[in-house]
């Protein structure tokens, strides 16, 4: 089987590029893969695989290709409003944006879109994209759908997607041999890695950490990652009096990031609202066998309770988070062992690649098989005067005989 593979790849710094860098070699061990490139001719293949995320620069061309030749979509996040805005308004196609809004919300959606276009409403992809995911614009062209979480699977179904759907876990990175750096220490040392903004609940983390420092003055917080444009982190640190308790690092090379993560006692990865995304940082933390604290939302909520502490996003978020940080530090060995076991069990790269091949094989030939079987069933039914071959087809689908 030959697979045409559409994805951003390095030097793109997107999480999906990292994902494909990890997955591609394992996939190539199992099937023939041809990587498509933007602006080049579409490769001939039995099935096409499109990795779709929310960044129009990284994924716009992939959606164009998908629309030209439907195939299997890997939906890396459910909320695609930014992507859709980028490939419609961003390309001088406001009508395309209105169509996407109308597809999702009917006429009120179109009117909202008009409000955005006329600057009467704020930009929805910046202010409340989770309310208007616009993923239907991609789902309509999906011949099969791969998701990483039940959260996204349920939303895709609710949005009307009724095709084949596979839930395939995010693969885990092989853990590199890392030496914890000498310059990172704390009692406990807490780490938060990745892009830092309101969405990652950094204000809540800082408040919880400030409170924790009162009982554990030796605690230190490592904040590693670029911060959002409108997020004044330094001022917040100053206001909370966290100057000496927080170490701030910008973009980190891969090796340094692994090493710093390994040195932490507890890693934190909070999120709200969720766009239905997974997190490469969380996968790395689990692979390292680290005690991990996440928000109890979306994909994060589906992580096993024995391996991860989950903090509900509610009015008690800050005190709960503080308690979770203490608990995670105290039980880091137990949580870490459960995390590592979970990753080995569910997220092993070979297992993920096998699941991809299974999905792609069904996507490539499943319709041929279904047609052949259903045709014979229908013929036999009609020959004996059965007036409702559809009911037989349904029985075949229920049994898993057809997809």
């Amino acid at each position: 089987m030959r697979v045409a593979y559409y994805s951003p790849l390095p030097p793109s710094r997107s999480g999906v590029a990292d994902y494909s860098t990890l997955l591609l070699p394992a996939l190539r061990e199992r099937v023939e893969v041809v990587v498509a490139e933007p602006g080049k001719r579409r490769p001939a293949a039995d099935v096409s695989l499109y990795h779709v995320g929310n960044d129009p620069e990284a994924h716009g061309w992939i959606v164009d290709e998908l629309r030209a030749r439907p195939g299997v979509v890997v939906l890396h996040e459910y909320v695609l409003h930014h992507l859709v805005a980028g490939i419609t308004i961003g390309r001088g196609d406001p009508r395309g944006y209105l169509d996407a809004m109308e597809r999702e919300l009917g006429v009120p959606g179109r009117l909202l879109g008009l409000g955005v276009l006329d600057n009467l409403l704020p930009l929805l992809w910046e202010t409340q994209p989770e309310r208007f995911p616009l993923s239907g614009a991609v789902l309509d062209s999906a011949h099969g759908l791969i998701v990483h979480s039940q959260f996204v699977a349920e939303r895709a179904r609710a949005a009307g997607y009724d095709g084949r759907l596979w839930r395939i876990p995010h693969p885990a990175w092989p853990t590199p041999a890392v030496e914890p750096p000498a310059d990172a220490a704390g009692d406990p040392l807490i780490g938060c890695f990745g892009f830092l903004n309101m969405n990652k609940r950094v204000p809540q983390l800082l408040e919880a950490f400030a409170s924790l420092r009162r009982s554990r003055p030796g605690a230190r917080l490592l904040l590693a990652g670029a911060s959002g444009e409108r997020f004044d982190l330094d001022r917040r640190l100053e206001r909370l009096g966290l100057g000496d308790g927080v170490e701030r690092l910008d973009y980190l090379p891969e090796g340094r990031m692994w090493s710093l993560m390994a040195s932490c006692d507890v890693l934190v990865n909070l999120r709200y609202p969720t766009m239905g995304e997974t997190s490469g940082s969380v996968m790395r933390a689990l692979s390292l066998g680290k005690a991990l604290v996440v928000s109890d939302v979306g994909w994060f909520a589906e992580l096993p309770d024995d391996a991860v502490l989950k903090v509900p996003v509610d009015e008690f978020e800050v005190p709960t988070l503080e308690a979770a940080l203490v608990l995670a530090a105290d039980r880091k060995a137990e949580l870490g062992a459960a995390a590592r076991a979970y990753v080995e069990r569910e997220h092993a790269l070979a297992r993920v690649a096998d699941a991809y091949v299974a999905a792609l094989e069904v996507a490539a030939g499943g319709d041929l098989v279904d047609d052949a079987v259903l045709r014979r069933i229908a013929e036999a039914a009609v020959e004996v005067g059965h007036s409702d071959p559809v009911s037989l087809a349904r029985a075949a689908a229920d049994a898993g005989i057809v997809g």
Binding site: A358, G365, L368, V369, I377, A395
Partner: protein, 339 residues
């Protein structure tokens, strides 16, 4: 209890699986149950036809018969275990191996075409559905249980079944090595014939019929004094062959279970097998109940001549095997299936 034993039937073929299901029905009846064998002809080719056959089983209604409830269904093979029943027990003799371990080997049936690949996946999906519906899943050997775990992520309890009922007895070995098998390629009888070619003192009797007979007879050409094709033999004649042989050769490729070693053991005969034989290795232990060698003619020949030169040891292996085989009986099987 009214019990339907469900098994596919390949018309004009009668092998170990058919013997086992017949014996299961008989064992249930002996224990006072109202048992019946339910079969549907099975033709698994070409291409997607294998799925039609599964669908036939899906349409069968075994909840009751003639107005009386059927209490339990025991299904043994693909696609029979696709049958629906609220009280379904699956005792897996083997899955549709062309979709699993035989795939992409000379024993497989699916090509690299998208349709064939997807058909193979449909069999996987069917197995997942059918096995998940079962109240309990048993496997006839650890080998079969391991495959269920490896390919389907399904857990199964290992429950070996007794071999066919024969008038088992033992007698002084007459020096020949016996092969009892359906004559097809996967049973690897050619390995024994090649062994005979390399070792002129080796005498062989091959019992059984099958599609590979012509090829095997050609392979045995020129070895007239050494090899006898006995064809299909009746129960008495088979028990007699077992009783008189020196040892029994049984070396299929990764066999699911294999009744032949049990039959050999009940006749107090050792078994010669190979390290890749699968299920038989669960009871044939090297230098304990037989000889286990590499799947090469020279190694098989060496094993046979060793037993010929050490008859007392061969007898001891056979007796040890007999003790193993006697532990597997229908009482234990029926208890497990109905508990």
């Amino acid at each position: 209890m009214r019990i339907a034993v469900c098994a596919p039937q390949v018309p004009f073929v009668h092998g170990g699986a058919e013997v086992m299901t017949d014996d299961l029905v008989a064992a249930l009846r002996v224990r006072g149950h109202d048992a019946e064998l339910v079969t549907i002809p099975f033709k698994w080719y070409p291409g997607t036809r294998v799925l039609d056959q599964a669908f036939l089983w899906r349409l069968v209604d075994l909840t009751e018969s003639d107005g009386r409830a059927i209490d339990r269904v025991i299904a043994t093979k693909f696609p029979a275990y696709c049958v629906r029943h609220p009280n379904k027990i699956v005792w897996v003799l083997h899955q549709f191996r062309q979709a699993y371990d035989y795939d992409r080997t000379e024993l497989g049936q699916f090509s690299e075409s998208p349709e064939d690949r997807a058909t193979r996946r449909a069999v996987e999906r069917l197995d997942a559905t059918a096995l998940a519906e079962a109240r309990r899943v048993f496997a006839t050997s650890q080998n079969v249980a391991d495959r269920l775990r490896r390919f389907n992520g399904a857990d199964a309890e290992v429950l070996p079944h007794p071999p066919q009922t024969l008038p088992y007895r033992t007698a002084e070995p007459e020096g020949f090595v016996l092969s009892v098998n359906r004559l097809d390629r996967a049973k690897r009888i050619d390995l024994l014939i090649e062994a005979a070619r390399s070792e002129p003192s080796l005498r062989i009797v091959i019992a059984g019929e099958g599609p590979d007979r012509e090829r095997l007879e050609q392979l045995a050409g020129g070895l007239d004094g050494q090899i006898e094709f006995a064809g299909r033999v009746d129960d008495d004649a088979l028990a007699d062959l077992y009783a008189r042989c020196l040892a029994v050769y049984y070396a299929p490729v990764d066999e699911d279970f294999g009744m032949v070693p049990y039959e050999a053991f009940l006749s107090a005969k050792p078994v010669v097998t190979t390290i890749d034989a699968g299920g038989p290795l669960e009871v044939v232990r090297d230098r304990e109940t037989g000889v286990v060698v590499a799947p090469e003619p020279a190694s098989v020949a060496e094993a046979c001549t060793y037993l010929s030169a050490h008859v007392d040891e061969a007898k001891a292996f056979g007796r040890a095997g007999q003790a193993v085989a006697r532990r597997v009986n229908w009482d234990a099987c029926v208890d497990a299936l109905l508990r």
